[in-house]
Symmetry: C2
């Protein structure tokens, strides 16, 4: 257990508006961009009307850099004005992990 | 910022089998039970074939108690044998949080 290298997770929960024109293209663009960011480790995402996207990062600094990345800032503004009724962001330190694989 | 009271999140990501008979009833039962646990704060869950469920807890101890709760142990065994091809559990400390509300 002692050699577990902690990392960070950003839990993004959201409720979308009914009309989300342009959202899919932007979402794909942001996923592509995120993968290029230093410190990006991966992403899990499931969406219905409510969505949960969890992205994983090496450090708080890499999360901050992604938050301030210029194209991503534009997307965040567009998200508030056009696509989301509500969202919540939680910055978390992953302290332990286990799994099951058939 | 300094008065943010940290808490814990358990990120459960999963891939279900095709036939998940009995899953829905068990899932509802576990949600009801979790709410009765000391230290339970809430839950977000979205599912397609892939699922993400994030539950929120006051402390690591409350997470451990829930993991070892007897009905929940039965459900975990049933999950491995009948419902999941794969799952992953991450125990996280929520260090910061912000949101947007239309």
């Amino acid at each position: 257990m002692e050699d577990f290298k902690s990392y960070y997770a950003v839990i993004f929960t959201s409720i979308q508006k009914k009309n989300i024109e342009g959202y899919k293209e932007m979402s794909e663009k942001m996923e592509t961009l995120a993968k290029l960011q230093q410190g990006y480790l991966g992403m899990d995402s499931v969406k219905n009307t409510v969505g949960i996207t969890v992205s994983y990062w090496e450090s708080l600094e890499s999360i901050k850099n992604w938050k301030l990345q210029s194209d991503h800032l534009q997307a965040q503004l567009k998200g508030k004005s056009d696509w989301y009724n509500w969202y919540n962001v939680k910055i978390c330190k992953v302290e332990r992990e286990y799994g099951y694989n058939l």
